[in-house]
Amino acid sequence: MTAAPVASREAVLETRGLTKAFGGLVAVNAVSLRFLERQPHAIIGPNGAGKSTLVNLLTAHMRPSEGQILCRGVDITRLPAHKMPGLGIGRSYQKTNVFPSFSCFENVRLAAQSRLSTSMRFFRPASSLRDTNAHADEALELCGLSARRHRVAGTMSYGEQRQLEIGMVLATAPQILVLDEPLAGMGVEESELMVALLKDLARRYTLILIEHDMDAVFSIAEVLTVMVNGTMLESGPVEQVRASQAVQDAYLGDGGEVF
């Protein structure tokens, strides 16, 4: 797979001079990025590079100090976090963030409820919402947890909880998936399953991936952005970034091995 010429495809999500400062510390510094329709885009960088802050900004979990975020050309910088799923922007969390006392199915059904115009419905049980239940089952199928439907989420294995995390995002009917280290803490086998799932998702959604696992990144992403100390060091097609001397020096050191 090769990346299409950057200008010819529509940017579904775009940042312009995005900056977030915590007091004197500038966690994200004037980052301008274009995320193109169905072009898997990975953001890598050492710890403290500002990747998670960038995710929090993109999904309105934090307010930027400066700069703009546009979704299909519309400024969404000031919108609150709960409006993001409605715009088709879904995210997963670095720390597993499922509802442990809910069953696996209840977790995705809750997420699927966000497709309703409102969940201020008081009288009929959620289990009678036919469409919502169908969406929830679809999401379970997609993330490979149909067999775990009735399990209490807190009793599932760590890897399964990570899958459920993705399933919940899928149930909100996103177009853009922002995944914050979906492979974090996974064993080898669990990782393989997840990478296969992510590759599959990359074909259907616009995937924005924060990840440490380089093998995974190279097998999934078409575009790579490298961040160091809050600034964008390099961004472009994977091969180009991989060859960049600046990246080799600054981020990877003796990076020949890592690549």
Partner: protein
């Protein structure tokens, strides 16, 4: 929690049947005290409604409110203030008007409180609760610290014919029983609804709920208003039962007692806090009759139960009833 295991549902049903039959076997078992005990049980069922409504806030939504008794008291004062002095109030008017008043007051208090969270929410609701207390304590129109009497029990009539004689102790007992059971099932239904699922998720992880596309503050506010309005209904019934209201109904001590019932019974389970109300009140009644220093004994009792049963009575029952294969749900 949505579906109770049979081994819990059946004993609970048996308890309700025992309550329902009390007017029949009470006079045989306790000939001297029957009337008193029946009144006591009705009183406990009213407090159980208060505890269940508080559980919606504390155990389900994660809103630890110390203003809850204020809405209970407001429900009672609603009846007292709207009742004509020497005639029966019309329940068709007075009850909806009172509940609407409680709902409106809780919407204002909730709207102002819900922007805070954690310990600040507790402090803000404590302040609002005490404002309510002093509002009635210091007001001449509502009888000040002496409270008010409701001389005539309200009537429930259609075209001049009484549907129920609420001044009759047994009728009142059954009305309370029906409402107690109704509140339980109503809240159960609410928790199973799309709204209830969102609210229960907010109690676990509010930020994640926001990330999924729900505005937590709106859902918390509606849950708050529903819980407080049910508390108002309980207060209305309490005022009807005793024919009397006073400011202590609103005080934060009373909120605290309701909170103890919820915690004793098991937060977030609805049936737990209802059981908690029975255990708390019966323990109080037992200890009161044994020793002057019953408050100290009560304190010891509560501490022992909470230490021995961190998830309350309901937690113990659910553990005993848990199917074998479910593992250790944390």
């Amino acid at each position: 929690m949505i579906r109770l295991p049979r081994s819990i549902a059946l004993p609970l049903l048996a308890l309700v049947v025992l309550l329902a039959l009390f007017p029949a076997y009470g006079p045989l078992l306790f000939p001297a005290k029957h009337a008193f005990l029946m009144q006591k049980l009705a009183g406990i069922m009213i407090l159980a409604m208060l505890a269940m409504s508080l559980d919606l806030l504390v155990g389900v939504t994660g809103l630890v409110s110390l203003a809850h008794a204020a809405f209970f008291g407001l429900g009672g004062y609603g009846l007292a203030l709207l009742s004509p002095e020497y005639e029966a109030a019309n329940l068709w008017l007075v009850l909806p008007a009172t509940l609407a008043g409680v709902a409106a007051a809780s919407a204002v208090v909730g709207w102002l409180s819900i922007r805070t969270s954690g310990i600040y929410f507790i402090m803000v609701t404590l302040a609002f609760g005490q404002m309510g207390f002093y509002l009635f304590n210091d007001s001449k129109g509502a009888g000040g610290s002496d409270g008010m009497y409701i001389m005539v029990t309200p009537s429930l009539e259609i075209a001049g014919t009484a549907l129920l004689r609420l001044s009759d102790k047994m009728t009142f007992y059954y009305v309370v029983l029906a409402l107690f059971v109704g509140v339980y099932f109503g809240l159960r239904m609410l928790l199973a609804s799309p709204f209830g699922r969102v609210v229960a998720a907010i109690g676990v992880n509010e930020n994640r709920v926001r990330g999924l596309g729900f505005d937590p503050d709106r859902y918390k506010l509606v849950a708050f208003v529903i819980g407080c309005t049910v508390a108002g209904l309980a207060g209305f019934l309490a005022a009807m039962q005793y024919g009397f209201v006073n400011p202590s109904m609103l005080s934060w001590h009373h909120s605290g007692e309701a909170l103890v019932m919820v915690i004793l019974g098991g937060m977030g389970t609805l049936f737990g806090p209802a059981l908690g109300a029975f255990v708390f009140e019966l323990a109080r009644y037992g200890l009161e009759s044994m020793t002057e220093h019953w408050l100290a004994a009560m304190g010891v009792f509560v501490i022992v139960v909470v230490l021995a049963l961190p998830k309350g009575i309901a937690g113990l029952l659910l553990r005993l009833a848990r199917p074998r294969d479910e593992g250790d749900g944390s």
